[in-house]
């Protein structure tokens, strides 16, 4: 290390002081560029470009992911907002309405069956005649 001495000659420096000097010296060596060849700058640029390429590809990937996510979100919003057209009328009914319609149909069927039964009881001959005619 060049430079004037900070401490007078004969000054007893502690072991810690000497150790610190050693650390600083080693630090200076560790901070020196290892590669001092003619290819130092081209290699450095290559490293920088490699790092930039990695960053760019990551950015491009992130951008495409964001675009895809935005497209999917838009699609979901359209699906939710726009009215859904169904061919069958059943899909437009509420559960209660569908249940009422079903019950009406059942009632109508049971009524017509009971009317036929009563008619058979009241006019048994006509039923037999009709059977014979067949």
């Amino acid at each position: 290390m060049k430079g004037s001495k900070m401490w007078p000659e004969g000054d007893s420096r502690s072991g810690e002081d000497i150790r610190l000097d050693g650390i600083f010296q080693a630090y200076r060596v560790a901070c020196e560029p290892r590669d001092v060849s003619a290819n130092f700058m081209p290699d450095l640029w290559q490293k920088i470009e490699k790092a930039q390429k990695a960053t760019f590809s990551f950015r491009r990937m992130a951008r495409s992911f964001v675009t895809a996510a935005a497209a999917v979100s838009l699609g979901l919003v359209m699906f939710e907002v726009l009215p859904v057209r169904q061919n069958s009328a059943v899909y437009n009914l509420s559960y209660v309405e569908a249940l009422a319609a079903h019950n009406e149909a059942l009632d109508a069927r049971s009524t017509s069956e009971s009317i036929e039964y009563v008619q058979d009881l009241m006019h048994p001959d006509s039923a037999e005649e009709a059977a014979e005619e067949l």
Partner: protein, 94 residues
């Protein structure tokens, strides 16, 4: 014979690579240690200590840069160094 020498070259390459890795790791560790030590002093003192202890500037050169007396610089350097030494002692205790 050719295969053997190729193998030897590969082994030597791997050994050299490992040695470089180890060396780089050691340097990195040293840099981190000194960064931590210098973190115990203010920014100004850190620059002053780096110029003196790492860059190896003389007190005369520092005097010209800072435009203060040599004694003032010595005092400032001594105090900064004491703080770093204390930090080094703390680090050793851990």
């Amino acid at each position: 014979m050719a295969d053997l020498s190729e193998q030897q070259v590969m082994v030597a390459d791997a050994a050299a690579g490992n040695k470089l890795d180890l060396e780089e790791r050691r340097r990195q560790q040293l840099r981190e240690t000194v960064d931590a030590l210098l973190g115990s002093v203010s920014e100004e003192d850190r620059i002053l200590l780096t110029l003196k202890e790492v860059e190896g500037l003389s007190l005369k050169e520092l005097e010209a840069i800072y435009r203060v007396s040599e004694n003032a610089l010595k005092v400032r350097l001594f105090r900064a160094r004491q703080r770093v030494l204390k930090s080094l002692g703390d680090m050793g205790d851990r």
